[in-house]
Every structure is written in structure tokens, then in C-alpha cells.
Amino acid sequence: MREDAERFLPLKTNWFHILLSLTAGEQHGYGIMQEVLERSEGKIRLWPATLYGTLARLIDAGLIEESEERPAAEVDDARRRYYKLAPLGHRVLELESRRLEALVQVLRAKRRAMRRREEAIE
């Protein structure tokens, strides 16, 4: 099961952003688009066709699924489909964030070593 999740790594940028947007709970397409836009401060825009194409792939791959539950009635937009993370999606996101974390760790360690060497020279 673990290898199954690993086969998606490294995660494509669009996939990563969509999964990230769904961590908080179910969300519809427009919401995902908006969230990604805000999070990236307007730098990353998932254009509609790309968004739905990617959502279709994510569903095919079993990372997300359509949500049966609707959010609270006052925020529910009845006309839209909602999506949520599937268990596999959770695992993939977890693995991906660990992978990125490890990379950042490596980078930090290298920087520390560099700084120490510079200090030693001084």
C-alpha cells in the first residue's frame, strides 16, 4: 500500500496544490481555484479546463473522490460538485510533504556546514 502511494512522487505541481486545498475539507472546483490563487498570491492560477482535467486524473488515480457530504447549508452552493481527499490522497500528500521536508533539511544542513566553515576560516 505504501509503495502504491510512492508511485505518485514527486507530485506534479497542480496535483500538489489541489490536494493541499482539499486538506481542510471538501471543496468545489471554483473554491479550489480561488484558494490556490490566494495561497500563491496570484502567481498560480488553475485555469478551468486544466483544473477539471486534473481533477479527473486525480479521481481516476484514486487520490480524491467526490464528496457526498455537503458543507453547512448557509455556505453550500447546491449546483456544484464537491471533492474531498481520499485515503490514498492523504497518504500521498503526507509522503510528498515529508519528501519536501527532507529536502529542506538537507539544504539547511548544507548551509549550516558552509557557515561553520566560513567562520572557521575567519
Binding site: 471554483y30 481555484m33 485555469w47 478551468p48 479546463a49 477539471y52 482535467g53 479527473a56 456544484r80 460538485r81
Partner: protein, 899 residues
């Protein structure tokens, strides 16, 4: 403006969104559209027009991606379904492999054999060769003509004796052997016979060729008296020098002279006409030192000419100009030396592929090939279509369910087409492999290349789509309600007396019968027409070729040898008689096109232009056993040099043409004996008339032949010893005896007459294999198809048969019922096939006279015309019977309970 742009953008967006694949739309179509409606104003506000363009680009780019994803899913599904019915898949694949493979193979053969451009040439479009030979002296005049960039001349390949051990890395050029007076390989190794063209020095430059190694000829090699040099073919370089990159500068011994190799020709280049391949290219100037052909006349009388014309000059214009020049030159030559030649008409032969074929012949070749291969391919395709139809009945339920839950018909057709396309592509791949295998078995030069792969691919796609479409449409045109209610075994709605499937079966029978008849006619016709019948008794007759001139003999020595050798060999035990000829009597029959000119002072016909001059020595006709009709044959006395007219023996064809010899011999109105004949250079006195020898191949009229006595000066390419023994193998004795006369004398092409006849019959054999192969493959395909259809019909009618049997029908009765239906289709197909075959044969005969001859010979064979339909009928009924047999074992209860 912004509002208008937004509205336009929204409209475009909606159109694009509605073009997405059906399944995608079912799931996301609505959301996608709504998101667009929500986003467009916002994007427009934020990014302006550029943002709208970006939005549209996104959706436009996404469209093909989604369709590809759908195609991938379809392909995966198709693979799964195909894997689930391995029997169907296997039969379809075999059909397609045979059909596509055979087609590719023959198209490839024709492409390589008939339509290939000369390898290694550049800008082949501006190159042209003359279709006749002209004296070398004309070349300079051609070069002067406006519109001619350059011109070069070359001879037909002439023989060279190559001394040294052939093959192997350790082969040294004969230069290390030291110069023996006799010239033959002094290390005792075998002398090899090679063929080479004598070319004008600019030959390779005119063709625009680059040497693979070394260089081509330079100004130095154009000078008379310069050290002899040779350019060798790539083939020779590989076989004799192991493709040694340092080959330039090494020497070989040709005709007893040391010759330096200066370079290697381009890959696969064996001269302009590969049917007469040349491995050596010797420049004219240095050729005189090593080629006996040029010993007397440094400028050959019969040269081919290749012209490079200016790109702006029309081929037809230049052709006309050169024609005028040639006619003028011929006229001058005629007044100078009273030549028998008419003025020559030169025409261009383009070297860019469609070689030496007139447009009429080309049409015949294309039609013929097209008809045959079209039949093979459509047979394979009909099989595929039939199998798909048969299968579709099994899938009716699946299709009906999918239709009822909302799948579009177009979508299902696409899905089914993907399946047939996959099958066809797999079949195409196998077919290409099959074609590759066939060619590797025969000739590596025929290897299909990338263009052939593309051709095969195109054929496969056409097959897959063309023949998958009809079944796909038929399958999806179902009445969902009835199908779901009645189950999978309802008859196809398309099943009628003249339904698609029955038409296909009739077509298969007809097409394979056409194929069988045409190929059968051609095979038997070829066998009859081209079988070499030498016209004399070949038993205990053997041939040995020697070429003393090229082994370093002088002309005088050669003449002495020709006089001495037959007497010496005749003394051997087991030898009845020995004679000499300038070519093997078997090969003469199919040699070059007869084009010698003769004239006689006589009231009947004055000039023969398609005659043949042969040189033979005393006792030739006696040794061969050819009857002398009138007068006598040559004796030793005739061979003495004479200043007056030479004695000549003519055959009946010449006698007829000149002296009107048609009644019984001796009583002729015009006695040919003692009359005078002349050719270009000599006068002859007729001393005898011999019976016509039947000439081989398609030419059925005997060639007018004048025989003269053989001497070293006449037979410049060696002689053939003709030995009639009294029985048993004497070939090695003769070879030993020749060697004992002079160990340096090399003996080539040793063999019995029977062997040579068999070798020459190879053409007939090859035609049989090719056309017979097409016919047999066609028949196999038709039988596979019939068996498949019957098997399907049997499966489909299980229930009906079950009812019949429950009502009291017996197994044999049921069998008869099914067989009768098969027989009707076979009969209808046969009738149509015979009619069409007759028409096609008519057309082919009208198109090409040689084909006409062949077909007419084959047509006379009753066994073929009756046999082919009977054979096919028998086979197809067998193909019906085998699956139908199962019907007799149908258990009525079991089949009725099924549902």
C-alpha cells in the same frame, strides 16, 4: 469593447467546453461551463484581453489531451477484450499478417527491382541515360550541346580475370605475386571471373557520386598510357578486402596486369543497370592496357551515355536536340563506312526510378500488381470484417446495455474502431516482420526500409478503419429493447439473404477464385513459355569456358590454342566430340536482344536488323546434333584465314528472309548456297543452312542467326568448349586435361548442359513461386474466412437447430441444411469470380503483349480452368463442413434451455 470581448470569449469557451469527450462532459461538463461563466469576467477584469486569450488557450489545449486520454482508455479496454477471445484474435491476426505481409513483400520487391533509383546518385532528376548505344566518339559532341552540363559514357560490363585467392582478410593484391609471363595467379590459386564497366573518366562526377573510400578518376587517369587504375564496387570491397578502409593504393591483378585500386564506389552501386552488375570500373584510357576489348579500337563502338542536364532545360527539349545530333552523326558515319545502321533515335531513360519502362508497360505493371495485391489485401480485410461482424453478435448485449445507459452511438463506434485499428496495427507489425523474414530468406538487398514501414503502416490503418467501420456501424445499430429482452442470440438485424456477411463471403470466394485463376494461368503460362528448350539433345553434353586473352595469351597464342585444344580433348576416353563456340549454346537462347544487322543482294527482304552473329568452330552442329538442312557445316578447312568472303552457315530464319526458302529443301526457288551475305564489317559466303533452334523465353519466333567460324579475333570474351561425351561424368577429366595443356589457363562456368538449362529455368521457377505464392495465400485466406463465417452461423443457429431437432430433424438433415447455404454462396461466388477473372485476363492481355503471350499459353490449359474452381469449391465446402459438423451433435434440450 471589454463587454463585447467578454461575451465573445464566453461564447467561444462554451463551444469548446461542449466539444469535450462525452464521458468527461457527463462528469464535469456542467461544472466546467459554470466555472467559465464565473471566471471570465474576473479574468477580464484582472488580466485584460491577455487573460481571456490565456483562458481560451487553456481549454483549447486541454481538449486533445482529454481525447487522447479517452483513446488510451479505449485501447486498454480493447486489449482486454481481445485477450479475452484469443481464438478470434489469433485468426484475425493470421489473416492480417498474411494479407499485409504478402502485400508489403511484393510491393517492396517491385519497388526495389523495378522502381529504384540508381544508388548513390545526386539530383537524379536531372540525370538521364540514352536508350541506345552509340559510338564513343559521339560523346564529345553531346558534351558540346547547350543544356548539357556533363555527359559520360560507359560500356556494358565486360569480363575480367581476377587472379589471387578470393575472400579472407589475408588477401593480398596480386602485385606481390610477381609478374608471370602467363599472368595467371602464380600461387596456383583460382582465377575469378568478374565483370566491370569501361567508363569515361567523368563517369562518377556526372552521376554526382562520392567515393566510399579513396577517390574516383582524376585527370591523370584520363591520359592514355598512365598506370592502370580501377574503382571497385562496395560489394567487391566487402567480399575481397573485408571492407578495409586502407584499400586505396592496393593492387589487384586483372587480365594478367597489375592494377591499382584508387577508390570504392558508393554503397550498393553496381553500375547504372543492376540487371547487368559491374564490380569494377576502369577508365577508358587505362582500360586499353588491360581490356582486350579495347586492344584494336581504343574507342568502343557501343557505349551507353548518361547525361546531366541543366536544371532549367526541359528533358523533352534536350532529348529532341540530342536526337538530331545523333541522326546527323549516324548519317555522316553511314556515308563514311557504308554502315548498315539506320539513323538511331535516342530517347531518354530517367534514372530516378521507374526504369526503362514505357508508359504503357508501366501501366500494365501497375494494373497487374494492383489487381493481384488488392485482391490479397481485400481478402484479408474481408476476413477481418467478417470476424468482427461475427463477434459483434456476441457483444450485442454489452452494446445494448451501454447504449441504454446513455453511451452515444458515435462513442461506441469509436470504441469498436479502436479495437479493429489495434488489431490491424498488430497485424501490420506482424506483416512487416513476415515481409522482413521473407526478404532475409531471399536477398538482403531487398530488405524493406523505412518507407516500406510507412507503407505497411498506412495499409494497416486503412484496413483497420475501412473494414472495422461497417461492422462497427452494424453492431451499434441495434434495437436496445428487443436485444435486452431476447438475449444475445437474436439474429442480427442486418442478417438478410443479401446481408453484409453473405456478401462478404461471396466476395471472398469470388476474389480468391480470381486470384487463383490469374496466378494459375500465369504460373502455367510462364512455365510453358519460358522453359528453356535448347532444341538439341542435352544428354552427356558439358560446357567449359576459357578466356586465354585475359590469362595473358597473345592473339596468335589464343588462335593456336583454339585449334589445338579440341583435338587434344577429343582424344580423351569417354569424349565423342569437342567443339568451340563464343557462348554456351544454352545461354545464347536468352542472351542479349538480337540486334546484329545483315544484308544480302536478293529480291526478298534486304536487311535483317534483329539477327544474331555467332562464332563456332568445326563440328559445332554435329556435336550439338542440330540437323543441317542444306549444304554442309564447318570443317577445319573453313577455319583457315582467308582474304575473301568468310564461310557462313545460316539458319532457316535467315534463309527464309533472304532467299524465300519455304518449300522442301533443295527445291527452293532461290538456292542460298554460294550466295553472299554481309554484316557491318565482313562478307560471308553461305555454305550451309541449319534447322532453327527454338529460342527460349517469351520470344517464340526463331532468331535469324548467321554462324561464322571462330577465331581469337572474333571471340573476344573467351570461348565455350562444348564437349559431347559417351556417358558418365567427364567434367573433371576435361578440366584436368585443359590444365595439363597450360596450368595458367583458368576454366570457368563448368557444367553440364542439363545443369545450365535448369539454372536458366530459374526465371520460370521464380515466377511460379511468386504468383503461385500469391494464389495459395489468397486461397488460405478465403478458407479461413469461410470457416470463420460457418462457425459463426453454426453458433448463431444453435437454438433454431435445437428446435428443428426437437421436432424430429436428424443430424445429417441439419448438416445438409447448413451445407446447402454454404454451397449456394460458394456457387454464386465462383460464377462471379470466373466471369471477372476472364475480364481481367482480357484487360491484362490487351495491356501487354508479353503478358498476353504468357496468358494465352496458360489459357489453353483446361485442367486449370476447371481445376481451380473445383479445388476452391472443395476446400470451401470443407471449411463449411468442419464447423457445421458440430451441429449434428447439438443437444436439443440443452440448446433450448439456454437463455
Amino acid at each position: 469593447m471589454t463587454a463585447a470581448a467578454t461575451a465573445l470569449c464566453l461564447r467561444l469557451y462554451r463551444t469548446l467546453a461542449s466539444a469535450f469527450p462525452h464521458e468527461f462532459q457527463m462528469l464535469y461538463g456542467e461544472d466546467l461551463e459554470r466555472l467559465g461563466v464565473d471566471t471570465v469576467p474576473e479574468v477580464s477584469r484582472r488580466y485584460g484581453t491577455w487573460g481571456l486569450v490565456r483562458l481560451l488557450a487553456d481549454i483549447a489545449l486541454r481538449l486533445p489531451v482529454e481525447y487522447l486520454a479517452e483513446l488510451r482508455a479505449d485501447a486498454r479496454y480493447a486489449l482486454r477484450t481481445l485477450a479475452k477471445s484469443p481464438g478470434f484474435t489469433a485468426v484475425a491476426l493470421v489473416s492480417l499478417t498474411i494479407g499485409i505481409g504478402v502485400c508489403s513483400y511484393f510491393v517492396n520487391r517491385f519497388r526495389v527491382d523495378v522502381f529504384r533509383a540508381v544508388p548513390g546518385t545526386q539530383n537524379v532528376g536531372t540525370l538521364a541515360a540514352l536508350d541506345t548505344v552509340v559510338p564513343y566518339s559521339y560523346l564529345a559532341r553531346y558534351q558540346e550541346q547547350p543544356g548539357v552540363v556533363a555527359a559520360a559514357a560507359f560500356t556494358d560490363p565486360v569480363p575480367f580475370n581476377l587472379a589471387g585467392t578470393a575472400k579472407g582478410a589475408g588477401w593480398n593484391g596480386a602485385g606481390s605475386n610477381g609478374a608471370g609471363s602467363n599472368g595467371a595467379g602464380s600461387n596456383g590459386a583460382k582465377t575469378e571471373r568478374l565483370y566491370g564497366a569501361i567508363v569515361s573518366p567523368e563517369f562518377f562526377a556526372v552521376l554526382g557520386m562520392r567515393p566510399l573510400e579513396g577517390r574516383f578518376f582524376d585527370a591523370e587517369s584520363a591520359r592514355a598510357g598512365s598506370p592502370p587504375v580501377v574503382v571497385v564496387s562496395e560489394r567487391f570491397w566487402r567480399s575481397h578486402f573485408n571492407a578495409d578502409p586502407e584499400v586505396a593504393g592496393r593492387t589487384v591483378r586483372l587480365n594478367g596486369h597489375v592494377v591499382t585500386i584508387v577508390g570504392v564506389g558508393p554503397p550498393a552501386f553496381l553500375g547504372i543497370w543492376p540487371e547487368t552488375p559491374a564490380d569494377l570500373f576502369v577508365p577508358l584510357a587505362t582500360g586499353a592496357a588491360i581490356a582486350p576489348e579495347l586492344a584494336r579500337n581504343a574507342q568502343p563502338e557501343a557505349c551507353h551515355v548518361v547525361i546531366r542536364r541543366e536544371a532549367g532545360v526541359k528533358s523533352a527539349t534536350l532529348e529532341a536536340r540530342l536526337n538530331v545530333v545523333t541522326e546527323r552523326l549516324d548519317k555522316e558515319a553511314k556515308t563514311r563506312s557504308a554502315s548498315l545502321h539506320n539513323e538511331r533515335h535516342v530517347r531518354f531513360i530517367s534514372l530516378d526510378g521507374v526504369a526503362a519502362l514505357s508508359s504503357r508497360d508501366r501501366l500494365a505493371v501497375y494494373t497487374f500488381l494492383g489487381v493481384l495485391l488488392g485482391l490479397v489485401l481485400t481478402l484479408a480485410c474481408a476476413n477481418l470484417a467478417n470476424l468482427l461482424l461475427a463477434r459483434s453478435s456476441q457483444r450485442r448485449k454489452e452494446i445494448a446495455i451501454r447504449l441504454s445507459v446513455g453511451a452515444g452511438r458515435f462513442r461506441l463506434v469509436r470504441q469498436l474502431l479502436t479495437e479493429s485499428l489495434l488489431l490491424a496495427l498488430a497485424g501490420g507489425a506482424c506483416g512487416f516482420g513476415f515481409c522482413y523474414l521473407l526478404t532475409s530468406l531471399r536477398d538482403v538487398n531487398l530488405r524493406p526500409d523505412f518507407a516500406m514501414l510507412l507503407f505497411t503502416l498506412a495499409v494497416s490503418i486503412v484496413t483497420g478503419v475501412g473494414f472495422g467501420l461497417a461492422p462497427a456501424l452494424a453492431t451499434t445499430r441495434t434495437d436496445v429493447y428487443t436485444t435486452l429482452k431476447q438475449g444475445a442470440l437474436t439474429p442480427l438485424r442486418g442478417y438478410r439473404r443479401f446481408g453484409l456477411r453473405n456478401l462478404l463471403v461471396v466476395y471472398q470466394v469470388a476474389a480468391s477464385l480470381i486470384l487463383l485463376l490469374i496466378t494459375g494461368l500465369i504460373v502455367s503460362g510462364f512455365n510453358q513459355t519460358t522453359r528453356i528448350d535448347p532444341g538439341f539433345d542435352t544428354s552427356n553434353l558439358s560446357f567449359y569456358q576459357i578466356d586465354p586473352l585475359r590469362d595473358g595469351y597473345s592473339e596468335q597464342q589464343t588462335s593456336d590454342l583454339y585449334r589445338k585444344l579440341p583435338d587434344r580433348l577429343a582424344k580423351l576416353s569417354g569424349v565423342r566430340s569437342v567443339t568451340l563456340a563464343d557462348d554456351s549454346p544454352v545461354r545464347v537462347a536468352i542472351g542479349t536482344v538480337p540486334s546484329d544487322h545483315f544484308s544480302a543482294a536478293s529480291s526478298h527482304g534486304d536487311v535483317i536488323r534483329d539477327g544474331k552473329l555467332q562464332a563456332v568452330s568445326a563440328g559445332y552442329f554435329g556435336t550439338l546434333g542440330v540437323a543441317v538442312v542444306l549444304g554442309r557445316e564447318f570443317t577445319r578447312l573453313d577455319e583457315r584465314p582467308t582474304s575473301g568472303a568468310l564461310p557462313a552457315v545460316i539458319n532457316q530464319a535467315v534463309a527464309d528472309a533472304f532467299f524465300g526458302l519455304d518449300g522442301p529443301p533443295g527445291r527452293g526457288q532461290d538456292d542460298p548456297l554460294g550466295r553472299t551475305l554481309r554484316d557491318e564489317q565482313r562478307n560471308f559466303t553461305v555454305i550451309g543452312v541449319v534447322r532453327d533452334l527454338k529460342s527460349g523465353f517469351v520470344v517464340t519466333t526463331p532468331v535469324p542467326t548467321v554462324f561464322m567460324t571462330l577465331s581469337a579475333g572474333v571471340a573476344r570474351q573467351g570461348v565455350t568448349l562444348v564437349v559431347r561425351g559417351s556417358g558418365g561424368g567427364i567434367t573433371s577429366d576435361i578440366v584436368n586435361a585443359i590444365s595439363s595443356v597450360d596450368p595458367g589457363l583458368s576454366v570457368f562456368n563448368v557444367g553440364t548442359a542439363d545443369e545450365q538449362v535448369r539454372q536458366l529455368n530459374v526465371a520460370a521457377r521464380m515466377a511460379s513461386t511468386i504468383f503461385g505464392g500469391i494464389g495459395v495465400f489468397g486461397m488460405i485466406l478465403a478458407c479461413i474466412g469461410l470457416a470463420g463465417v460457418t462457425a459463426y452461423a453454426v453458433a448463431r443457429r444453435r437454438k433454431e437447430i435445437g428446435i428443428r431437432m426437437a421436432l424430429g430433424a436428424r443430424g445429417p438433415q441439419v448438416l445438409r441444411l447448413v451445407m446447402r447455404e454454404g454451397a449456394v454462396m460458394v456457387a454464386v461466388g465462383s460464377a462471379i469470380g470466373i466471369a471477372i477473372a476472364a475480364a481481367v485476363i482480357r484487360v491484362l492481355s490487351a495491356l501487354d503483349s508479353e503478358l498476353d503471350q504468357v496468358l494465352r499459353n496458360g489459357n489453353s490449359m483446361l485442367w486449370l480452368r476447371a481445376g481451380a474452381p473445383l479445388l476452391l469449391a472443395a476446400l470451401s465446402l470443407l471449411a463449411c463442413y468442419l464447423p457445421a459438423r458440430r451441429l449434428a451433435r447439438v443437444d436439443p434440450l440443452a440448446s433450448l434451455r439456454e437463455e
